[in-house]
């Protein structure tokens, strides 16, 4: 059904496109909303995790006897308490996961692979006793040499991190840290470059960064004597938590219920599991509920940040501005287990442009850092930093405005993708036009050391499975339940879609998020899929309600259902003797026409459509200190259809803010022994509102032709352009090309001084 849907681009909507107050807003701003750490149960114990102080070490022995005998301690578990799992991969919607590796990450077995790797867990009557107990656990380590960067891990003599790891290329006998090599090619590279008038080649480095969600990971596990487990946690996907916990603990999925708490940010970092199986196992051992909440340091050390990377990018263009060839080498830090987003990086890096000849080589590399997790358009920001900087340099060499240069080379409907079928209707051209016509682009930027930069971003967006139920109440109001955790305002979108279809007031629709026992399977809130896929399930469920209501009216009026008309929330008949009924009036008649009305729909959406964004940034650089001030920032993004424009704008602004943080400040800093040095938010520095201007937004709407409402998905692509846009702006401000993230004052100053030094030498040489 999904693929046959045609968006009606001329549709006029009554509720879609309006900005009602979000239904969960009041509880959130008044502190009544329940987040994971707010849950409490009678007899509840508190759990804590012992973590590795080493980047890479063999665990020779663990002695938990002293900890177990501390008064107040109820249970201690180690990796030996978890079942051994064979390799098995599963797609969660934002990348593939392997339950064996998840199990090894949840509690280390014979080796610890990064600073912060979990070794043991304790349940005690309070958190302080649990903390004391951790200190009593004796671990004997044999410290091993570590490989902290892709360069170090790819060297021939590099320490091997996962002894069992093999890749296809190197064969079954070769131990390696390279989990995967992907290659995409098109045309003939040498021929392509031969036709280029200008070639730019640069090497880029980006730092590992964290998503920076404010709420730490948490879980309450309650194991019942009948073998059933209940988990309360903040997650982006209850069904994913159920599936992964089931695999790690070898408990059937049907015996696990996951209840979603409100979530204080995820951005891809809460798709997986860390504490959930530990809380359940500790509960099983003690017979009591066990609550576990990470500290900030644990979040930074041991939950998935996104990959740091090395990218070499060479591109060629003709004098008249046509891109002709690209040669790209990219390696991403996977962390301690396979699965960096380098594949997505490779598929997005030049996806926005028509380039007839290219070779892209991409490597997924194991390093002694925490296993990376998804982060908003995972892999695409690193990639765009490289390609959008090189494109900017090429536009400069061709003396073509950087927006026009992008327009000239932009992919359009029918253009081939880097990997996959040709694009259907896409809105990249419209997005570039929107930036070109923006007030920002038309404004003049004046002053010393100021510059303007642009960059674009591409993201696939996801579809996947969703379920929705719409219940009609006797008073004519409705509730709508989906399995999608609400991170970015999806409750409001689900209510709007329900109200639109049923012709009722959006404030009379109550949007709910179901647990795994209350609603059909629903994939994670990720991949910008929720409004598209769960929104479509809601749309279809509401239409199911409408169909049934027409039947009820037909029964009341002794007509056929197709003789019943429905418009603006009112049912009527061609028969003038029959007075029309509103939804509310008809709801009073449900009992006598067959009972309650519930609509439902489940889908596996295959109609996802890509999103494009283009971001313009003005900066001012202090050339003596390297400090960058962002003066103005505008983003244009194709939303397909903005269901609730405020939350579309919120996504655009949020991703841009994170992208600017990535560009200017954020980085994981490890010391020589592979220990993370910045484990708090004073040292891991995210931007605040004081660091950013108002981020101006332009919503572009090129409807997704395969979606009944034209929705594309808006959650991710906004984070892709900012690093390159800021770098391009810095170049235009002071003539220094930055190829390393973050462009923090120390790093930028170093580049400025290096250039000043080189210029001085050139002047001296000229004088000689």
């Amino acid at each position: 059904m999904a693929e046959d849907n045609q968006a009606d681009s001329s549709a006029s909507f009554r509720v879609i496109g309006t900005r009602p107050i979000r239904h969960d807003g009041i509880d959130k701003v008044t502190g009544r909303a329940k987040y994971g750490a707010d849950y409490s149960f009678p007899g509840m114990l508190h759990g804590k995790v012992l973590r590795s102080p080493h980047a890479h070490a063999r665990i020779k022995s663990i002695n938990t006897a002293k900890a177990a005998s501390l008064p107040g301690v109820a249970a201690v578990i180690t990796g030996a308490d978890l079942p051994t799992i064979a390799s098995r991969t599963e797609n969660l919607g934002e990348g593939v996961v392997n339950s064996r590796y998840i199990s090894l990450n949840v509690l280390a077995r014979d080796k610890v692979l990064y600073d912060g790797h979990a070794i043991a867990a304790v349940a005690a009557s309070n958190i302080h006793i649990a903390d004391e107990a951790l200190k009593l656990i004796e671990v004997d380590y044999e410290v091993l040499p570590s490989a902290m960067t892709v360069d170090a891990a790819m060297k021939p003599a590099a320490p091997i991190i996962l002894e069992e790891l093999r890749n296809k290329e190197e064969g079954p006998d070769k131990e390696t840290n390279v989990a995967n090599h992907i290659r995409f090619t098109r045309g003939e590279l040498a021929e392509g470059f031969a036709t280029a008038d200008f070639v730019v080649e640069q090497a880029f480095t980006t730092a590992m960064v964290h998503q920076g969600y404010i709420e730490p990971h948490n879980a309450v596990g309650i194991y019942s004597n009948n073998g059933f487990a209940t988990i309360y946690c903040s997650t982006q996907g209850t069904f994913a938590v159920r599936s992964l916990t089931s695999q790690v603990l070898q408990i059937p999925e049907g015996q696990i219920k996951v209840v979603p708490a409100e979530i204080g940010g995820g951005f891809g970092g809460k798709l997986g599991i860390y504490l959930e199986p530990l809380a359940v196992l500790l509960s099983k051992k003690t017979g009591r509920p066990v609550k576990m909440v990470m500290t900030r340091a644990e979040v930074l050390r041991a939950t998935g940040p996104t990959s740091g990377s090395k990218i070499r990018c060479k591109m060629g263009a003709t004098r008249d501005g046509k891109l002709v060839a690209a040669e790209i080498w990219m390696a991403y830090e996977a962390g301690a287990f396979p699965g960096s987003p380098v594949g997505a990086g490779a598929m997005t890096i030049i996806a926005s442009y028509q380039i007839p000849n290219f070779v892209i080589d991409a490597y997924d590399v194991i390093v002694n850092r925490p296993k990376t997790a998804a982060y908003r358009a995972p892999g695409a920001s690193n990639a765009a930093f490289a390609s959008e900087t090189v494109i900017d340099a090429l536009a400069g060499l061709c003396r073509i405005d950087p927006i026009d240069f992008r327009i000239m080379n932009a992919v359009r409907e029918g253009s081939a993708q880097s990997a996959g079928p040709p694009f259907k209707r896409i809105g990249y051209f419209e997005t570039l036009e929107a930036i070109k016509n923006s007030a920002h682009n038309k404004s003049k930027l004046e002053g010393l050391f100021r510059g303007r930069g642009v960059a674009s971003g591409f993201w696939f967006n996801a579809g996947l499975q969703s379920s929705a139920v719409v219940n009609l109440h006797v008073d004519g109001t409705a509730s709508v339940m989906t399995g999608s955790v609400d991170i970015g305002g999806s409750r409001a979108s689900m209510a709007i879609i329900t109200a639109e279809v049923l012709g009722i007031d959006v404030t009379t629709v109550r949007p709910l998020v179901g647990d795994t026992d209350s609603i059909g399977h629903t994939d994670v809130t990720g991949g910008s899929r929720t409004t598209l896929a769960s929104g479509q399930a809601v749309y279809e469920a509401a239409h199911d309600v409408l169909r049934q209501l027409k039947e009820r009216a037909a029964r009341l009026w002794e007509k056929k259902p197709d003789e019943i008309k429905f418009a603006d929330g009112v049912f009527s008949s061609a028969d003038e003797k029959i007075s029309p009924l509103s939804v509310k009036q008809l709801c009073r008649q449900l009992a006598k026409t067959g009972g309650p009305v519930t609509g439902k729909a489940t889908i596996n959406a295959r109609n996802a459509a890509p999103a494009f964004a283009c971001t313009m940034v003005d900066v001012e650089v202090d050339p003596d200190t390297g400090k960058v001030r962002v003066l103005r920032c505008t983003i244009a993004q194709d939303a397909g259809r903005a269901i609730h424009p405020s939350y579309v704008e919120g996504q655009m602004q949020g991703g841009t803010a994170q992208g600017i943080g990535w560009a200017l400040n954020e980085e994981y800093v490890y010391d020589r022994d592979g220990r993370l040095r910045n484990t708090g938010l004073l040292d891991y520095r995210m931007p605040t509102c004081l660091d950013l201007p108002l981020i101006e937004t332009v919503i572009v709407e090129v409807p997704n032709p395969a979606h009944p409402l034209g929705i594309r998905g808006v959650g991710e692509v906004s984070i892709v352009p900012p690093p390159a846009a800021v770098a391009n702006a810095i170049y235009n401000a002071i003539g220094v090309r930055m190829t390393e993230l973050p462009m923090s004052p120390p790093r930028l100053l170093k580049a400025i001084l290096k250039r000043r030094h080189a210029e001085a030498e050139m002047t001296n040489a000229a004088a000689d």
């Binding site: 302080h128 003596d624 200190t625 400090k627 400040n665 800093v669 040095r677 910045n678 938010l681 004073l682 040292d683 520095r685 660091d691 923090s744 004052p745 120390p746 100053l749 170093k750 001084l753």
Partner: protein, 286 residues
């Protein structure tokens, strides 16, 4: 993030506070605004058995002018220094320095005496106190003694305050005619502390420097007077500033941390010294 257990004493006079200090010796710590001590206690870097809260000794919060000197009680908050009409008129550089400390919540609680006595290597006040040649009054059971700023900061978190003493007052000479001062800092992006902060106070005779005082914080283990910069400018005109400022980090073992390397800090010290001196001169001329 819970401090070790301690006993809390609230006193209403310096005399009572001193009595408790001599009674408990090393076990006791003075609590003023608590903005340095309490975080250290929460991290268990400090575990005093007794806290002597001088918050109710109201006379210590006064700011007054006496015989050409500005006297600021140790308990005066950053906010009261920032907004004091006396300080703004007679020591504008100090009001500006106070205004750059932390955020409004910090400035409402933190005190000048607490900040100076704690001697955080990245605190703002020490640079200004050095450049303004402040004089600290230390009280002990035997009476009072005065210590010049130049002799006050000894090392990392270490000052001339002896066990059993309380810093009760900081005194400054009002800026005279022909004198201008500026405090500039590169804020640590998260904490707001000075990655490097430079206070410059200059007196001109005609177009040439008569007196130059430069205080630098954040660069090394303690705030210091950049005497090589000061000497290089003696008797010179303002075109000598750039060359002189290049000596700002001379001989200092610059601190490195996850945000800024020692090399970067040294460059910041040179840049901010030059800028502070240029702006201080501009202020005299204005």
């Amino acid at each position: 993030m819970f401090p070790a257990s301690f006993e809390y004493h609230r006193v209403s006079s310096v005399k009572d506070a001193l009595a408790l200090l001599s009674q408990f010796g090393d076990e006791a710590k003075i609590l003023a605004g608590g903005h340095s001590l309490l975080p250290m206690m929460k991290l268990r870097l400090a575990q005093p058995a007794h806290l002597v809260d001088i918050g109710a000794v109201h006379e210590l919060a006064q700011i007054q002018e006496q015989g050409g000197r500005i006297l600021i009680g140790g308990l005066a908050t950053h906010h009261s220094v920032e907004t004091s009409s006396i300080v703004k008129a007679k020591l504008p550089i100090l009001a500006e320095c106070a205004a750059l400390i932390g955020d409004i919540q910090v400035r409402n609680r933190g005190t000048i005496g607490g900040s100076l006595a704690h001697a955080d290597p990245a605190a703002d006040y020490p640079a200004a106190a050095l450049a303004l040649e402040a004089e600290m009054t230390l009280e002990n059971p035997g009476g009072k003694r005065k210590v010049k700023a130049a002799d006050f900061f000894l090392d990392l978190l270490t000052t001339a305050v002896q066990a059993g003493e309380i810093l009760t007052q900081v005194s400054f000479a009002a800026l005279g005619a022909g004198t201008g001062g500026v405090y500039l800092k590169h804020r640590h992006p998260a904490s707001g502390f000075a990655t490097v902060g430079v206070a410059a106070v200059v007196t001109l005779k005609g177009t040439n420097f008569d007196k130059v005082r430069v205080g630098i914080t954040g660069l090394g283990a303690k705030a210091f007077r950049a005497s090589s910069v000061e000497k290089a400018l003696a008797g010179k005109a303002s075109d000598a500033i750039a060359a002189a400022a290049s000596h700002a980090a001379d001989g200092v073992d610059a601190t490195s941390d996850t945000y800024a390397s020692g090399e970067f800090r040294a460059e910041l010290a040179r840049v901010y010294t030059r800028r502070a001196l240029e702006q201080a001169v501009a202020r005299v001329k204005a």
